[in-house]
């Protein structure tokens, strides 16, 4: 598989060569601008996509080749013409005035050496090419060829609205071939169990994995269809840990809870229970809640990791080895007896990191806790002894997010070094490195089948990576700010993403398309979560609100066909208002985490901030 973004040597070297006369750059740009503004309406929107990448590349050329005064006047003349969603980039650019400033700014260097992707219809492209190949425009044609990759499609030119929905990233849009690979987005089969009936019915009949007929059926307990889902990965595509007895017990518990789960929908909204962290002094930087909602962990800017028990049951450490050898290993309540009552407390504080803790993640079996920090390490803590077991060093720069795989054993981390790493708890080095983003990886999530990892980045793209071979199988563009939250739908088919632009975007993974846009939030969205059966999407934001969206409606009747994929002619309905089921305000508490309990009660967490 070709790694598409890798520049070859000649491309890198030629990027350093002088493209034309620096004093004429303003003329080249304004000439092109004039041409585009005079072109037909139907082509203008598409051709206007050239402004931003050309502006930035030409400016960086001038700076890199040390033509400071030309660079400055070029910037001043044209920066106001750019689209509003590029303002943050322009602000960074305005401070980059000397060649020395560019060294050390890896994002800018990556931008210079990669080709900005534009998707333009064949007609518009012909128009452009004809114009630029005229003698006097040769220089700018060279520049275009040097820095832009124009992905041509056959079809109608896109409208400004369609284009605006999909542009915004530092890398442009995604090439069509970037989203062509087959993705196994189906779920892995759950093992079949004999589910003991719940307490109301005391007979201990064994039923093959199905709950009692009176209760509503859950269709994500895999025993219904015996056929292999063609979209699901083979069970052994990636090695996964075997199910231990404790895991099986947990699954049985899960199924019992699932049977009592509330079915959510527009008529039946979840209750929301908000956990407010008081006196955190704006130091709360990460939150996670266990799957069974028994523990909550907070990562703080003072480098501590604090674990609380959500239930009345307190947190206990195991006894010392001396005491453990005294207990009766055959007794039924051995798991209770190994706990040391003297250590029972509601709160456990874990010390070890030397910088703010930016991400936390419980293991599915609740034995381990991961935390990642600005100090560049990811730490594995034992929740049985409440001590640190391992420090994984690999990123030497702040690690922004980490998450355990839904099956345990593997975990992913992403950081300032622009890569995400896949680790296993028993390897001190990463197993996979996912490199390709142009800027920091700010958010990392596993797909429910653990075969894929989604990474959101400060370069405003989301990439989907294959765990098996490290390839990037999807690139999603459209956000206008760094991505801070990702959520896979429980059926594995869709991805919801939230960024600093306040929009939640919905993506169809199989087709590689944007299928929805939820507008409403006015500030960064830090938390996204689907309800247990995928009926509701909850989003939490810095604007102190939790919003509930109708996911069933958002994903029905999708126009995802080959034409849309090929041409990018997405037609997003303006239905945010219809999909919004409720907005819930907090008392000046930004929402940092959302979690649906097994019975579909929504838990939310955030730190009270008095501003």
């Amino acid at each position: 598989v070709v790694v598409e973004d890798q520049p070859d040597v000649s491309a890198v070297l030629s990027a350093y060569n002088q493209q034309g006369d620096p004093t004429l750059y303003e003329e080249y740009y304004s000439g092109l601008k004039h041409f585009i503004e005079c072109s037909l309406d139907c082509h203008r929107a598409e051709l206007s996509q050239l402004f931003y990448p050309l502006f930035v590349h030409m400016y960086l050329e001038l700076v890199y080749n040390q033509h400071e005064s030309e660079a400055k006047s070029f910037f001043e003349r044209f920066h106001g013409d750019q689209e509003c969603y590029y303002q943050d980039d322009l602000r960074v650019l305005s401070s980059l005035t000397k060649k020395e400033h560019m060294k050390g700014n890896e994002t800018m260097l990556d931008f210079r050496t990669s080709k900005f992707v534009l998707r333009i219809s064949r007609d518009s492209y012909q128009l452009l090419k004809r114009h630029l190949q005229e003698k006097q425009n040769n220089q700018i044609w060279n520049i275009v060829q040097e820095h832009l990759y124009i992905d041509i499609f056959d079809g109608m030119p896109r409208s400004k609205q369609q284009i605006d929905a999909m542009v915004g990233s530092l890398a442009g849009e995604a090439k069509r071939e970037a989203n062509k690979a087959k993705v196994f987005f189906g779920l892995l089969k759950e093992p079949e169990f004999d589910v003991p009936l719940d307490d109301e019915d005391e007979e201990g009949e064994n039923e093959e994995g199905k709950p009692k007929k009176k209760k509503p059926k859950k269709d994500n307990v895999g025993s219904k269809s015996k056929k292999q889902d063609p979209n699901a990965p083979p069970q052994n595509r990636i090695p996964l840990p075997e199910l231990k007895d404790s895991d099986k017990l947990d699954k049985v518990m899960n199924m019992k809870e699932a049977a009592r789960r509330v079915r959510l929908g527009p008529e039946c909204l979840p209750s929301i229970c908000f956990y407010t962290f008081l006196n955190a002094y704006q130091g709360l930087t990460a939150v996670d809640i266990t799957d069974d909602s028994s523990m909550i962990v907070g990562g703080f800017a003072d480098s501590t990791v604090r674990v609380w028990s959500v239930t009345p049951k307190k947190l206990r450490s195991v006894k010392t080895a001396a005491d453990l050898s005294l207990i009766d290993k055959e007794s039924d309540d051995v798991l209770e007896r190994i706990m040391d009552e003297k250590t029972a407390s509601e709160l456990k504080i874990l010390y070890g990191h030397s910088g703010p803790v930016y991400g936390t993640s419980f293991s599915p079996d609740r034995n381990y806790l991961l935390s990642c920090s600005e100090d560049g390490t990811v730490r594995l803590w034992s929740l049985q002894t409440f001590t640190c077991l391992v420090g994984y060093k690999g990123h030497n720069y702040p690690v922004w997010d980490t998450q355990f795989s839904p099956y345990g054993y593997y975990f992913v981390s992403g950081g300032h070094d622009r890569v995400a790493r896949l680790w296993a708890t028993d390897h001190y080095q990463p197993l996979r490195i996912f490199a390709g983003h142009l800027a920091d990886v700010t958010c990392t999530r596993f797909h429910p089948n653990s075969n894929y990892i989604a990474t959101g980045s400060a370069d405003r793209t989301i990439r989907l990576w294959d765990v098996l071979n490290g390839n990037c199988v999807r690139i999603f563009t459209g956000h206008k700010g760094p991505i801070h939250s990702l959520a896979f739908s429980p059926n594995g088919r869709f991805l919801a993403t939230g960024a600093t632009d306040g929009r939640v975007l919905l993506w169809d993974i199989g087709h590689g398309l944007m299928v929805g846009e939820l507008k409403g939030h006015t500030d960064t969205i830090y938390a996204l979560r689907f309800s247990r059966d995928g009926e509701i999407l909850a989003s939490g934001s810095m604007d102190n609100t939790v919003r509930l969206w109708d996911a069933v409606k958002a994903f029905e009747d999708l126009e995802t066909d080959d034409f849309t994929t090929a041409t990018g002619h997405i037609n997003l309905p303006e239905n945010s208002q219809d999909l919004l089921l409720g907005t819930y305000m907090t008392k000046s508490t930004p929402v940092v985490h959302l979690h649906f309990t097994r019975r579909n009660l929504l838990l939310a967490a955030g730190a009270y901030s008095s501003q």
């Binding site: 020395e100 001396a322 028993d426 490199a435």
Partner: protein, 252 residues
């Protein structure tokens, strides 16, 4: 700019050359603390200029010029800041890493952790015994040897599975405790006991100290607690001190 800065110490009055003095007299260059006083507390500009002077004289140039200053800035920045690896390097190591297939997972292998030396589960101290006060025959000191890997049947102490095979070294110097290099915390058990007790190779509790690495964290508070509570006939004072240290570490 550089020339003007260099000239100022010569022309400034005496009191302007004092670190506090410049704040009062100099009208033109307020605002930035020590930068205004080249001979005052070292500011950023001072350091850079001094470096630039050194480079310039090394290159045998008549005066400091912009290139020297640029070089000085570059070197200082490289000392203080690093940047993440470049993209081609990342893509290269990614390609290498991603080629190896994912390792198979051995079933039923207990807690899946890396080899002990990559974990933080080892104790950060080792127990050793002080030799008793002996005569100056340096070669014949019988110091109770602590074999840290020894297993014993004493049930009341936790077990240590430390990978380090070293035993405690014997000090040739009388009375001076040997502190093991690299160990953060040396617990000394002076064997200043009646001969009867010390005839047994160390206090039994010391020998029995074996810790299960997966259960106990780095501080190993529990061991010393047990040690103290065993009521060994060791000198109580050093142990008591250690006991108090543990209380500082206890997070409960």
């Amino acid at each position: 700019m550089e020339a003007a800065k260099m000239a100022s110490p010569k022309s400034a009055p005496k009191d302007a050359q004092v670190p506090g003095g410049t704040r009062r007299g100099r009208g033109g260059t307020e605002g930035r603390g020590a930068e205004r006083c080249p001979r005052g507390p070292a500011g950023y500009v001072t350091t850079i200029l001094e470096d630039a002077k050194i480079y310039s004289s090394h290159a045998k140039k008549a005066s400091v010029d912009a290139d020297d200053v640029r070089l000085a800035i570059q070197c200082r920045t490289d000392q203080s800041f690093t940047s993440p690896p470049p993209r081609d390097f990342l893509l290269d190591i990614a390609r290498q890493k991603n080629q190896t297939p994912l390792p198979l997972i051995k079933p039923y292998s207990g807690p899946r952790l890396p080899p002990d030396r990559y974990c933080l589960t080892a104790p950060n101290y080792r127990l050793k015994a002080l030799q008793k006060k002996v005569s100056s025959t340096a070669g014949r000191i019988t110091v109770p040897r602590l074999s840290v890997g020894a297993v014993s049947s004493r049930p009341s102490t936790p077990t240590l599975g430390t990978p380090s095979a070293q035993t405690v070294s014997v000090s040739a110097k009388v009375g001076a405790p040997v502190s093991l290099a690299g160990q953060r915390f040396t617990v000394q058990i002076p064997s200043s006991q009646p001969t009867g007790k010390s005839a047994t190779p160390t206090t039994p509790t010391v020998q029995n100290v074996l810790i299960n690495p997966s259960l106990i964290g780095p501080k190993n508070i529990l061991i010393t607690t047990n040690m103290v509570s065993q009521g060994t006939a060791s000198d109580p004072n050093p142990l008591k001190r250690k006991h108090e240290d543990e209380d500082d570490y206890d997070t409960l």
